[in-house]
């Protein structure tokens, strides 16, 4: 992070599935505190890249440096504990055993509590005190995303958009240095997208670096400091939004000639 101010540096990342190159020698870095957008057509390898970075599906080749430390080969939970948190393209909330909205957010504190069996059974007072503290924090986060009234509801009772916000609150509960968001605005209506944009700016102001995969170009153009374009698993272009909009290769492969989103004042 100190070095060049880059929190995340991806170099030469390649991922093959049965000989198919889903990612082909992708390299880029993210400055600490930035919002970087990852765009490209469907099947370009965006989610594959997020999974490679977060360890859910490690890359075949290449390195992923988080604050200068190579995290390739670490388990997903270890990478998460280093300060990388994420949301999922297809919502993945915890719903078994009547887990509530609040329970989902509270799980985000797991990596800081690392509860042991001994402590859980024999140090009840310590656990209860911890629980009060993190519940307070979880309620604050639910308030931030506007779900404090639904704290005791079940995730399945929330609207689609609210489930996405709940995933965001759960990710923030981990106190991440870096947030990976996989199409967080898909399925949201225009008003919700606007609210979501404001929310992301608030998160950015807290110093959290964001790597966002998103198809909503209006959102991307509004918030991104920097954009990477993937196409067929390769990096097609990288640069600030204005340069990406003007890039003929990007227009050809993804944005289309009639692109209006890029007309949004930057």
């Amino acid at each position: 992070m100190e070095k060049n101010g880059h929190i995340l540096t991806i170099s030469g990342v390649t991922k093959t599935f049965d000989g198919v190159r889903a990612l082909d020698d992708v390299s880029f870095s993210i400055r600490s505190g930035d919002i970087k957008a990852l765009i490209g057509p469907n099947g370009a390898g965006k989610t594959t890249l997020l999974n490679a970075v977060s360890g859910l599906n490690p890359p075949t080749n290449g390195s992923v440096l988080l604050e200068g430390r190579d995290v390739v080969g670490l388990r997903t939970d270890q990478i998460a504990s280093l300060g990388m948190s994420r949301t999922f393209q297809l919502i993945r909330l915890f719903t078994i055993n009547n887990a509530t909205v609040l329970d989902n957010v509270l799980l985000g504190a797991h990596m800081h509590l690392k509860p042991t069996l001994f402590g859980t059974i024999f140090l009840r007072r310590k656990i209860k005190r911890q629980e009060r503290e993190i519940t307070q924090k979880a309620m604050d986060l639910l308030k931030l995303v506007g779900l404090e009234k639904d704290a005791h509801a079940f995730p399945g009772e929330l609207s689609f958009g609210n489930q996405r916000l709940l995933e965001l609150a759960r990710a923030l509960m981990t106190d991440p240095k870096m947030l990976l968001l996989d199409e967080p605005a898909s399925g949201l209506n225009d008003t919700e997208v606007e609210e979501f944009t404001r929310l992301l700016m608030t998160i950015k102001q807290q110093g959290i670096t964001i790597l966002i995969v998103e198809h909503n170009m209006k959102l991307v153009m509004n918030i991104a400091d920097d954009i990477v374009v993937l196409d067929f698993g390769r990096k097609l272009a990288e640069g600030p939004p204005s340069a990406i909009c003007a890039n003929p290769d990007v227009i050809q492969a993804y944005l289309g000639v009639q692109s209006t989103e890029c007309g949004v004042p930057l």
């Binding site: 977060s54 360890g55 859910l56 388990r75 997903t76 939970d77 998460a80 504990s81 948190s85 994420r86 999922f88 993945r92 909330l93 915890f94 719903t95 078994i96 055993n97 887990a99 329970d103 509270l106 799980l107 985000g108 504190a109 797991h110 990596m111 509590l113 509860p115 042991t116 069996l117 859980t120 059974i121 009840r124 656990i127 911890q130 629980e131 993190i134 005791h152 509801a153 759960r170 981990t174």
Partner: protein
Amino acid sequence: MNTLKRYWWLILLAAIAVYPVIGKPSPYRSGLLIFAGIYIILAVGLDLLMGYTGQISVGHAAFFAVGAYTSGILTAKYGFSPSAAMGVGVVFSATLAFLTGRPVLALKEYYLAMATLAFNEIVVTLIIGFEGLTGGASGLRDIPPFTIFGFSLLNHLHYYYFVWTVVVLVIASALAVVRSPFGRALIAIHSDEQAARSFGVNCAKYKTRAYMLAAVYASIAGSLFAHYMGFIAPDDFGILTSINLLVMLFLGGIGTIFGPALGALFLKLLPEITYQFQDYELLINGIILIVVLVFFPRGLFGIFTALRNKIVPRMGK
């Protein structure tokens, strides 16, 4: 009224405590309740593993056997005190669960079911094979009754109170586990292992811990069983016992702690009501099981909570 809703189990506890005083049960009756208590301990442990962590075990009786035989062998053949033997059994079971947990729990669904089934079968085969130590297929005899601080629990009622004290401690500790950050991690693993990992949960470790705790409970139940019976045989710990435990879980309401406890109590006391049907006893038992499972998928505890919510006005969620 909310107090009643929160502390209803105190009534149950009081009932357990005063029953011998008021009911003056025969040794046979108190024996039934002792068995029920032992099975509650087993079922609650299995519920932690299956109902909360989502890891099926079709071989939970293996740890029941380990506890019973460790206690039996150490007291009958090596002169250990029963409480020391129980302690050794607990350590041994926990170690065995720790060593087998990672490879076994890396499997999923049917494969996990097969592996745990095989584990049960291996343990029983070893018991039969090491005849010199375990008495083999004809069983291990002359296991002394339980003693604490030199006080022998030969009397049925004393043992009844002892076993039910352990039951209360087991349920209390299981509830402490599930209503805690630890329990939340288990539920997360049950819901979505990959997502749980993404939030820092070391799934292999937590699954193994749940397995170890379930094994410890089962081992304690095994020791309690061995010292009560005085004689144990491999038949008590076979796959049929494991399957019976699964029935208790689903009958009572899996993933609720109280449900499996209720299921164990019900299934152990049911023959008391159905024995009068003589030849039709098994048939009636089967029908009752099917009716509960078909019409009350949340089990006996589901019926109980529904009734409780009817009687006690609903409090705000």
